[in-house]
Point group: D2
């Protein structure tokens, strides 16, 4: 990608894949539908819009560029803010949506699918670049990448001030391509502007952060002696309830129905591993889809919950050869081992809806001697064991099946954390008069 | 397609698109999975297989060529029958499955996707061609095309014998391409073999028919004075319960989930039009997906059923502007009119799961002045009305959404009519000693 | 009871236990509540009342004297009819309700609890006595006792006319006390009025009958050559649905909760014997009460229904030692034998909600050598077997537990057959101009 | 009652109403049934019984004397303890059960129904009287009466030691008859034994307390400087889940079914006031009984819960004239006012299942000018307002309907806190070697 900034007719900066692309009709329809579904964002817009509470606020946002993000951006714009957006990762960027947002000319988007790490950082720096003022008033972060960039910048500036040393590219940063390009950029800019990140921090009123990783990054900054005002969206009761219980309970069955084409969930035996909020939602959803549901769980309180809810609880070994579906929600490594898989029924379906990617021992499966993998349909693989020439069906390569096989949370559910972001920014923005550079 | 018969190594005739095609692994996996799901077919195979009750039976079958049909064919083969298969239509033929069945070399398949009417008839004639014996012992028909061919043949032979006249290609047959090629073939063969269809009928022990259309064809033959022994699979209690109640209740939600990506069914208002068996299953399924369900129905008994089941029943006009989903199951033309659609909420979703294709007034919609159609995703169109620039989302172009957006009945459900076929053929085959030509 | 007719201030005849009794307040409240619950009767009253369609109709009714019957009587009165009521049996008559109806002075009631057969017949004859006209225009019957009385009367009159013979009191009638008093009354009246029942029949426009027994009686009359116009309430779709499915599904759990004080249904294993409409309702109700439900059934169609509804189906022997509740709905004698009971868990609960009283082998239980019965609470007995000193709990002495332990159908449900009666009488009354004596 | 101690044949002391009373068979059956239901107590007995972990422990217990308490006592006995029992109140004592426990001769019971306060204290002192040792090793308290007695005793002894003053009978104690008899007893004993309660406290290893009131009493003691080891059963997760969510969800519908004879819950509109754990259970139970359920709630988190669970949430005023049932679980005074009641439908049913007795403004109702109360059945009153001569039905006089109309928690549920008591006592007993008097 040619790394030069484009401008809309009104002069707003951006960089997306192809603003002239056709098919906007489809995307407008999608945005319209998302807008109708995201009722809490709409409620916020209706309630606060007329008073323009974010008037003058310059917001830099690192988020997943989807139609739902489009509704968030539009809402912030309607509340008076100016927004500059980069993507929260190098992939999964919807180029059409990015183009459509720019076509609406209400915010600056710097994102395209399949960015290199260099391009990723370039986009982030553009999102942070508010001209001579040097930085944003507010930040929306998801994954902590902006926070990390500022943290590394400040650390480097402090060291440079004290010792004149430039940051090295240590072995750990070598392995992490994002960190490597960040450090390179920081080093290259240090001499010409040794206070760039300090100025940015002084100007910054606060950060609204959605991920656990990002919150850990913010805690580290505080431990470093660099405090940023922040709102932890992840800790909101509605975010947790919707992300943990309500979202998976909707997307699990959607994912199964898509992946497991043509076969019935009803009357089948399904084992849910773990009975926390996610497991609870999954068990309920499978019961409603008419499966016979069984639970594995170690925590006695959760065992009790499962029993009271009417689900038999046993050790996974007791279910291993009778169940048709295994859904793991434990967030424990190797909750389902390759030894488990070998003992399962032919065509047993295995999937994970946990937060991490290692509930299912995929490495063990992939390296099992003589194992054979047949892709039945996208995100649906049958793995044959050589001893029996039968095997199991693994969804989404053992990773979060609600993302791989379904489309994650419904817009209605996703509306919750985005509304939390807006409410969080409104709260942070009240602190603007006390900021360091005021 | 070059219309010449191929032969397997064992000498079995066939004609499919590409027997050498790769990807068999995937199809074997699919067939294996279907076999495991189709438990009633498996039970029949286990129970009757050892006694080979269909030994010597020559079966011609006109059915949808899917992996489920593959399981049926294999089952018949395991019971001792020889089977020759053509497709029950010119499209929706799974070429890979056809190839895989031939690779298994247990039956003769004559089918490929996108046949011309001529090719379609050529395949049917191949399926009926059992060498010098002149015809099959048993027929599996779905849609009545084989029956119709035999009926037209016999009619023509009678007329030719009585009057020497060849069948004309009337205007009605001109419009129906299948009938036209049948009549052409009959006429072309009459002089050389004026008893071809009479011989076929004399040899034939009976027909197992799955569709209402086919049964009507058989009734017409009887009215013509030409009686065929037949089993009406459509009239089986299990077939009806599964096809009407159980199948749609599973595939409706599957279809909605696939078509209606990213939005929630839960908490939405859904109207089910019609509360027969199909409507009952749909209402129950939507309730289980946590929608708020409402019903429209004219038949007082069904109204009562719906109320006792806890669903409010009113006229569709009372729901028109409040509901998010409309599912019609009425089999009445224009149950949902374009006037209804204009009054619906923006983004209301409309679909049909009835037997016919005219519950929803698609013609009215398509010809509405200034209407604009945007395809959101395959089988999902948003239709904008010019007056409001808002509109409705129509699934599967208003036709059976459980086929268009989902994959029809699960294999488990489909196993029922196929098992009925096998049981029906076993019953018919007991009559073999009394056949006309014996 | 002194068998003389009393009169209200307005001159209306009656005979009840004690018209002066206190506590009317309570009964008015009960009648008021029943009236509000019996919404279909109220709808009939509102719709037809103003036109007085039953004006002039003289109705004799043999029904259970409850507050619900009070609402029926009031409704008929509001439609213009005059009603004379006797009880449909000698027991289960609510004397307070009878008194309250008379206090309302809108109909004539002849009924009190604990009648002798002679008193029972005296009441019935009073209900049929419409002065010099000799009989009612319309009859409401429940159990067929009035029909039977007229039938026996006509038979006797025919024989007497032909042969001069009086009816004998055969051995069968000796065993049936009701029949014996009927025949005695008929014989005693024959000489003085040999056409009493023929006149009654000629005047009678028709009968609305609610019970299977009564319908069989009417069929016998037709077979005898004596046709009565009749409406078979039992055959109404609403009556059947409500009596079979909806009523028991409500009253089963109510009965269990009352009988089985202090113990939980939830999580217990419950076996429902029989999966017709009654069994279907019971299984659903137990599932909603959170029991684990199992089914026994012989009819393959019903087995299929049960499986599709998600209930395991097996032979009762397979459940006998694991279940906590046994509910029989089969109407087959000895569906639960004493041998079954001996094998059950200690404190297993057994009850019947079928139509007849012999699903459970109570005789076998009562005569089991050394068995010991302890009444835990009214309608709840524990039966100890001597071998183990453990045993089973039988509700309502093995008879219909929804009557014994609960109060039968809710008023709302009972409203259905009563409304059917009214609609039936309206239809019959249209025939009045064609009656034999017109 | 003659206040003298009786002795069993084995010499065990007791005082109950009538040990010779008949009907033991029924009670043994009840105890047997309770034993089978109280599976967790049985599990404790099986696990710990063989090791006799409570061998030598002298336990004084103030609990409700029911068959369930009988199972608890038997369990403690089986674990090696000796138990002396008094009732936790002057009423609701089951004399037959008390007699039956004594007939079993495994513990000393001092309790009869309808005790005077003097008799109540006499029984408590007997339960605390372990001969010359002066007091129990362990205490089970429910309501804190024993704790309060010891607290007052110690306070008095301290004051007497310091000042020589005897405790006065203040005006507050005059109003509380229980406290008055306690203080009288303490005062009367002070001179002869000024260290009675200090000795008792020194000997005491700990208290297992089940009620909030009792825990508050224990906290006051600690604040006074008098610490007792105690287990707060009320704080156990299982106790709370079962008492709050699971128990009411079972007993609400049981109570409604019993109180509301003959009318249907299904299809009726029910309002649940409050959506904490109790309200959640009630809403779920009413939904399962097929009511249409609505919720009132102030706490935004609970509002969210209710909405996600599918229940509409509004202000009670919005439901007041449409609902058929009102169930309050708020524990807030006057959640349902007499003004609310006046606006309700005729025959609307009102009940409370909260912990306190003032959710419903019964005083306002009783003093409403011209209001008229008709008792429809025990615990079920209709209250007529004079303006309309219609009115509402109040269950259990507005108090806890699950106790008034049902029998409280099922044995299975009650097993939980009793098991917690046993586990708690086992833990406390481990501390015995460190007690003050050791």
């Amino acid at each position: 990608m040619d790394l030069s900034v484009d401008r809309t007719a009104s002069g707003r900066e951006y960089k997306v894949k192809d603003i002239s692309r056709t098919g906007f009709d489809r995307i407008w329809t999608e945005l319209d539908q998302a807008t109708m579904e995201m009722t809490s964002l709409e409620a916020v817009r209706t309630k606060y819009g007329p008073n323009q509470p974010l008037k003058g606020a310059k917001i830099s946002a690192s988020i997943a560029v989807t139609s739902r993000a489009g509704v968030l951006i539009k809402t912030l714009n309607n509340l008076g803010a100016e927004v500059r957006v980069c993507s929260r990762g190098t992939h999964w960027i919807n180029d059409s949506t990015a183009a459509a947002i720019m076509a609406g000319d209400c915010a600056s988007v710097f994102a395209w699918n399949g960015q290199t790490p260099q391009e990723y950082l370039w986009c982030m720096e553009r999102a942070l670049d508010w001209g001579q003022h040097g930085g944003p008033d507010l930040i929306i972060d998801d994954g902590g990448d902006i926070t990390r960039f500022i943290r590394e910048g400040i650390k480097a500036e402090k060291m440079y001030e004290k010792t004149g040393q430039l940051p090295g590219l240590s072995s750990s940063s070598t392995e992490d391509p994002k960190l490597r390009v960040m450090l390179t950029s920081i080093r290259d800019g240090l001499k010409s502007d040794p206070q760039r990140f300090h100025r940015m921090k002084d100007r910054l009123v606060g950060v609204s952060e959605m991920s656990t990783d990002g919150i850990q990054m913010l805690s580290k900054m505080q431990a470093d002696g660099t405090f940023l005002e922040a709102i932890d969206i992840n800790d909101s009761p509605t975010k947790r309830m919707f992300d943990n219980w309500y979202g998976p309970r909707l997307s699990l069955v959607e994912g199964l129905r898509r992946a497991y084409t043509g076969d019935s969930i009803a009357e089948k035996a399904a084992v849910v591993c773990g009975y926390g909020e996610v497991g609870k939602g999954c068990a309920d959803a499978l019961k409603e889809a008419r499966a016979k549901v069984f639970v594995t769980e170690n925590n006695p309180d959760y065992v009790f919950d499962a029993l009271v809810d009417g689900f038999p609880v046993k050790h996974i070994d007791d279910f291993i050869s009778m169940a048709d579906f295994f859904v793991t929600t434990t967030d424990y490594k190797d909750s389902i081992t390759v030894e488990h898989m070998r003992k399962m029924k032919n065509n047993a379906v295995i999937c994970s809806i946990g937060q991490f990617d290692n509930d299912i021992d995929m490495e063990g499966l992939e390296t099992y001697p003589g194992v054979r993998r047949i892709t039945v349909s996208p995100q649906t693989d049958k793995w044959y064991f050589p001893e029996t020439n039968t095997g199991v069906i693994v969804l989404a390569e053992g990773r979060m099946m609600n993302l791989g096989c379904a489309t994650g949370h419904p817009s209605f559910v996703e509306s919750c954390p985005y509304t939390d972001h807006v409410i969080g920014l409104l709260e942070l923005w009240k602190l603007k008069d006390g900021r360091t550079d005021a």
